[in-house]
Amino acid sequence: MPPSHPPRIPPPPWVIDLKNLPANKPRPTSAAVPDPPGFTNSSGSKKSTKQGGPTPTDPSETDDLFLKKAWEIALAPAKSIPMNAIMMYMSGNSLQIFSIMMTAMLFMNPLKALSSVNATFARFDNERTHARLWPVKLAFIALQLATIALGIWKVNGMGLLPTTYSDWLAWETERKPMEFSAPAFQVLSSN
């Protein structure tokens, strides 16, 4: 390390900024600053009532709400199935980039959803709702499977399912003849 100091250069602005932090003043609370005249804080009043009245909620009520919410989530795919079906029907059976992408989505989304069934319903899951969530989950899985079935129907329509003889033709072999023959009627004369 050479002993000579580099020429003194002024520190960059950010260093100055960092060193001279403004005084950390607390933000004025709403209570401290009076509302302007004529302003009525409706939300504030609500909040205040909530805050003010900590009424203990009934846990069964919450669970019902949870289940209701869970059912809503579970049945959401049912709403998209008709739309998907119409789209699939309309897009035709030709192999084009859009129909291929749409069909791929029909498989991707349900599979993703199926792999995270528990995570989807985790926030509604507690000791009490656990047992009652089963039918919800089953309905959810069934609907996802229905979407997949729609995809399979579409893929079949596109002719991508190996369900016919022609799909297995390449694996069928010619019958081996048991005898050997050779043509021998080649009579070539000198003229």
Binding site: G159, L160, T164, Y165, T173, E174, R175, E179, F180, S189
Partner: protein
């Protein structure tokens, strides 16, 4: 599958257009054509000026293949050629003022000497003996029945006719003078010379008689003009000749016993007589003086069985050109001394059988001499050469015009040939051991060849980009090129010559050999086969089995079979080698090389026009058993027997229909197609047999057939295509046969129903003897706008590429390729195809097949006389190689589904690499800029 078929469909539709043609830049590069005319006839070969104004003369020749041609003496190219009526190798051609007149058989024709255009043609009932052209281009013709006719120069119509009365007279020759024509007739022991006026056809003066009794037919060749009459007497022991004069006096010479050929050549006042024995030849020169021939001098005999003489006049001097095997000698006919000796270049000896010459004295005292020579070699007759002052200026391989058979020879692959043993080890050990062996081999190879390969890499890349030259020409000799476009066709000529033609290299002759030794005449060939890698076997009809090295042309083996060969076949033996089975005249069979392990092989033989027979041959027994016979119904004659090609791989055993179901092809290795005609009922029948059991699988009879026109058949895979001429006028048929050439296609399927493999179900084996089932046959008939000379089917390595039918069109029309799809019998008739059919690639049936000129693979060339087409696969799946012979030779590459496995010439290598390089450079330049900008933008955001 459906995915594939969907992806294929647009390609197929595109192909409808594209398969019709090869790339334009490939035409005339990947195909070649050698136009041939055949061996020249001595008396009808001459130098002649195409018209009076022209200074240069052309070579005109009439050949034994009845082709009249004009050859440019400069380069040997054909100026024009005209096929004439066939006449067993004889014919006369004469030159007139701007015209060439020919006579073959009983037809006379006059052609424009400059361009070969036909002026007129006249057909007579009697054969033509001699012909002369008058100064005004009128043609005097002497007929076999003794009539002399003058044909008008403009139209060829008969101007006058003269008939002699005595039927014992035999016409000999015709001699045209300025205003008269002299007819020589042989009458018992006299020669009558009658002179006729050209203007009127009346006799001028009284006929002259000369004592003489000419040999008829004669072995003597008279190659002289009209001024001399020559003949032999007493079975060729005396040669007489006389100049035609008011008081003719024949000169005669005794011919020694051992002379086999004498030739008289006359020009102006000189007559040269050429004698040939088996060992040497000599020449006598006679001078004509006041109507009598006087012997001038005799030239010393020259050793050698082959030589030819010709006379040429220039100025006042008449020169004699004597062409022997190793040298050409020039004499002045006034003196017996040699003027000039022109030795032929080393190794280019010419066995001349006929020669015509032109000699011009130069100012400096030397001579300019050129001779057109037809040569003879064992098995190769009629090659023509032009010898210019001793140098062989060009050569035309006319002997290859008589090819009768050919076989393909696979060349060696340089990459595998050296490691054949290693590869064998790998195929014969267990998978694990083979894998280890292979890895070791690759490591060894990497160590051995790797550094060189890396070193050569820049050069290779450089070549690939910049050199225009195609890399396919890099390998020569017996080594295969990278794509396998080079293949040898080993051919046999009618005279017993054997030659290897490099089909991938413009038909170059690689080697020549002869199957016969001099005294024996070639008896014909019963079969030619590639029996092993690089070995061809020939079965000669006289019962000889000969093996040749296909790359060098050395004889490897010659075996006598003991009896003339009736027929032969190439069979596979259990030890994965091939053997030739020969059925001999005496009913025995021979297997060569002897293979006792050869199991029963079934051969089918056309015994006569009423019998096809199946034979069972084994390696042990020498007595083939007859297993079945096929006798067609009464009064039917068998015209052809055809089977599937030896190499006929099938890529898919079924056919996918539009609804994704499959109809299975009836694939029978033993398919045998027999066509018969019934001239009394005017019907043609086609029988499809199983060659092992002899069972008739299918038959069809067509009525209203012109049985005088041949029926042609092509077979491949599971289909048969044949053609006949349908004519309702021959015999009226209930439905009425469309008049024209019918092209019928029949496809054989295992079952009528889709997804059904027929009676055998999923069986893995099939035996014809226990029942191979009967096919379900779909047929459709089309009208083809041209007669068909022959069918062939394109052949590719795996059979994946669509097949194309090669149709040989008659005359000079060439070879037409018809995609098999076009004549699909499933094409919907009378309606538009529905969606499923469209998906299958079917389109509406239309009875007439139009000939698309773009599908003619001979392009604009006028190919002539092709008789047979042979196809073989190249190394690339897309490509099939074609070789056609008969008179001309033609070779081409076929890519029925386009060259999908090869980049075309138009592929922009430089463009592609340039784009990549430019992008890489761009990225390298832009990347730091972008990085800096991103950092700056982060900071400026603070």
């Amino acid at each position: 599958m459906r995915l594939l078929s969907r992806l294929w469909l647009p390609c197929l539709i595109l192909n409808v257009v594209s398969v019709l043609a090869i790339f334009k830049d490939d035409a005339y590069h990947t195909d070649w054509h050698i136009p041939l005319i055949g061996p020249s006839i001595a008396a009808s070969t001459f130098f002649h000026r195409p018209n009076a104004e022209s200074r240069a003369s052309l070579i005109y020749t009439l050949t034994t293949r009845s082709i009249l041609a004009a050859i440019n003496p400069k380069d040997g190219e054909l100026v024009w050629r005209q096929p004439l009526a066939e006449s067993n190798g004889t014919g006369i051609a004469c030159g007139g003022n701007g015209i060439i007149v020919s006579a073959t058989g009983s037809a006379v024709a006059s052609f424009d000497a400059a361009n070969g255009r036909l002026f007129w043609e006249n057909q007579f009932s009697s054969k033509i003996v001699d012909l002369g052209v008058t100064a005004t281009n009128a043609v005097v013709v002497l007929f076999e029945d003794g009539a002399v006719r003058l044909l008008k120069e403009q139209t060829g119509d008969v101007a006058w006719e003269w008939n002699f009365v005595d039927s014992t007279d035999v016409p000999i020759s015709l001699h045209v003078a300025e205003s008269t024509v002299t007819v020589a007739l042989s009458h018992i022991s006299k020669l009558h010379l009658t002179t006729l006026s050209l203007a009127t056809g009346r006799e001028v003066g009284s006929p002259l008689s000369v004592a003489g009794h000419p040999d008829i037919p004669s072995t003597h060749r008279a190659l002289h003009g009209d001024d001399v009459l020559s003949w032999t007497e007493r079975s060729g022991s005396i040669l007489k000749f006389m100049p035609l004069a008011p008081t003719p006096a024949p000169a005669f010479v005794d011919i020694p016993q051992d002379v086999i050929e004498t030739t008289v050549v006359a020009l102006k006042d000189r007559i040269a007589v050429h004698y040939k024995t088996g060992a040497n030849s000599w020449v006598d020169i006679f001078t004509v003086d006041a109507g009598t021939a006087v012997k001038h001098y005799s030239l010393q005999p020259k050793a050698g069985a082959h030589s030819a003489i010709s006379l040429s006049t220039s100025g006042d001097v008449t020169y004699l050109v004597w062409t022997s095997t190793d040298e050409t000698l020039l004499y002045d006919t006034n003196r017996p001394e040699i003027l000039e000796t022109y030795p032929h270049p080393q190794g280019q000896s010419v066995n001349a059988t006929l020669a015509i010459s032109e000699v011009v004295a130069r100012l400096d005292g030397s001579w300019a001499m050129r001779s057109f020579v037809s040569s003879w070699a064992l098995g190769f007759v009629g090659d023509t050469h032009l010898i210019r002052n001793g140098e062989i200026a060009w050569t035309r391989p006319e002997s290859l015009s008589s090819i009768v058979a050919s076989t393909w020879v696979e060349l060696l692959d340089p990459t595998t040939e050296g490691i054949v043993e290693d590869l064998n080890v790998e195929t014969h050990t267990s998978i694990g051991a083979a894998y280890i062996h292979r890895v070791k081999r690759h490591l060894n190879e990497l160590a051995e060849y790797g550094p060189d390969w890396v070193k050569a890499l820049p050069q290779r890349i450089y070549n690939a980009f910049l050199s225009v030259e195609n890399t396919e020409s890099e390998r020569t000799g017996k080594w295969k090129d990278f794509f396998g476009f080079r293949k040898f066709a080993v051919v046999v000529t009618a005279e017993g010559g054997l030659a290897a033609i490099d089909v991938g290299k413009n038909g170059e002759v690689v080697w020549k050999a002869s199957l016969v030794s001099p005294p024996v005449k070639f008896a014909g060939i019963s079969g030619i086969y590639e029996v092993r890698k690089g070995t061809v076997a020939i079965v000669a009809a006289d019962g000889e089995y000969i093996e040749y090295d296909a790359f060098e042309g050395n004889e490897l083996l010659r075996a006598e079979l003991g009896a003339p060969a009736l027929t032969s076949a190439l069979v596979d033996t259990p030890s994965e080698t091939k053997a030739v089975v020969v059925i001999l005249d005496n009913g025995k069979s021979v297997v060569l090389p002897p293979s006792p392990d050869l199991g029963p092989v079934y051969l089918s033989i056309k015994e006569s026009s009423r019998l096809v027979k199946g034979l069972r041959v084994t390696g042990l027994s020498h007595h083939p058993e007859t297993t079945w016979t096929f006798v067609p119904p009464a009064s039917e004659e068998i015209t052809s027997v055809v089977s599937r090609p030896v190499h006929d791989p099938v890529a898919s055993i079924g056919r996918v229909l539009g609804d994704r179901s499959v109809i299975y092809k009836y694939l029978n290795q033993h398919l045998l197609v027999i066509t018969t005609i019934n001239p009394t009922l005017s019907t043609a029948s086609v029988y499809i047999l199983d060659a092992v059991s002899g069972a008739v699988l299918h038959s069809a009879t067509h009525s209203g057939v012109d049985t005088s026109q041949p029926i042609r058949v092509g077979v491949s895979e599971n289909w048969v295509v044949y053609s006949y001429f349908g004519d309702d006028d021959v015999v009226s048929t209930p439905g009425g046969a469309a008049k024209g050439y019918h092209l019928v296609v029949s496809e054989l399927y295992e079952s009528e129903f889709a997804n059904d493999r027929g009676s055998l179900g999923q069986a893995a084996n099939v035996s014809s003897l226990t029942g191979a089932g009967k096919p379900y046959v779909l047929s459709q008939s089309y009208i083809f706008p041209s007669p068909i000379e022959a069918f062939a089917v394109s052949s590719t390595k795996q059979g994946i590429t669509a097949r194309e039918i090669l149709i040989l069109l008659p005359g000079t029309a060439g070879i037409y390729t018809l995609p098999k799809r076009i004549i699909d019998p499933r094409r919907p008739v009378g309606r538009e195809p529905d969606n499923a059919e469209k998906e299958e690639g079917l389109f509406r049936y239309q009875p007439v097949i139009e000939i698309d000129p773009r599908s003619i693979i001979t392009h604009e060339r006028k190919v002539l006389g092709l008789k047979k087409m042979e196809t073989t696969p190249a190394e690339l799946e897309s490509t099939s190689i074609v070789f056609a012979y008969g008179l001309d030779l033609f070779g081409a590459r076929l890519a029925p589904s386009m060259t999908f496995d090869m980049l075309g010439k138009g592929f922009g290598k430089i463009q592609l690499v340039g784009t990549v390089v430019a992008l890489a450079i761009g990225a390298a330049v832009v990347a730091p800029m972008v990085r800096r900008k991103q950092i700056n933008s982060r900071w400026s955001a603070m």
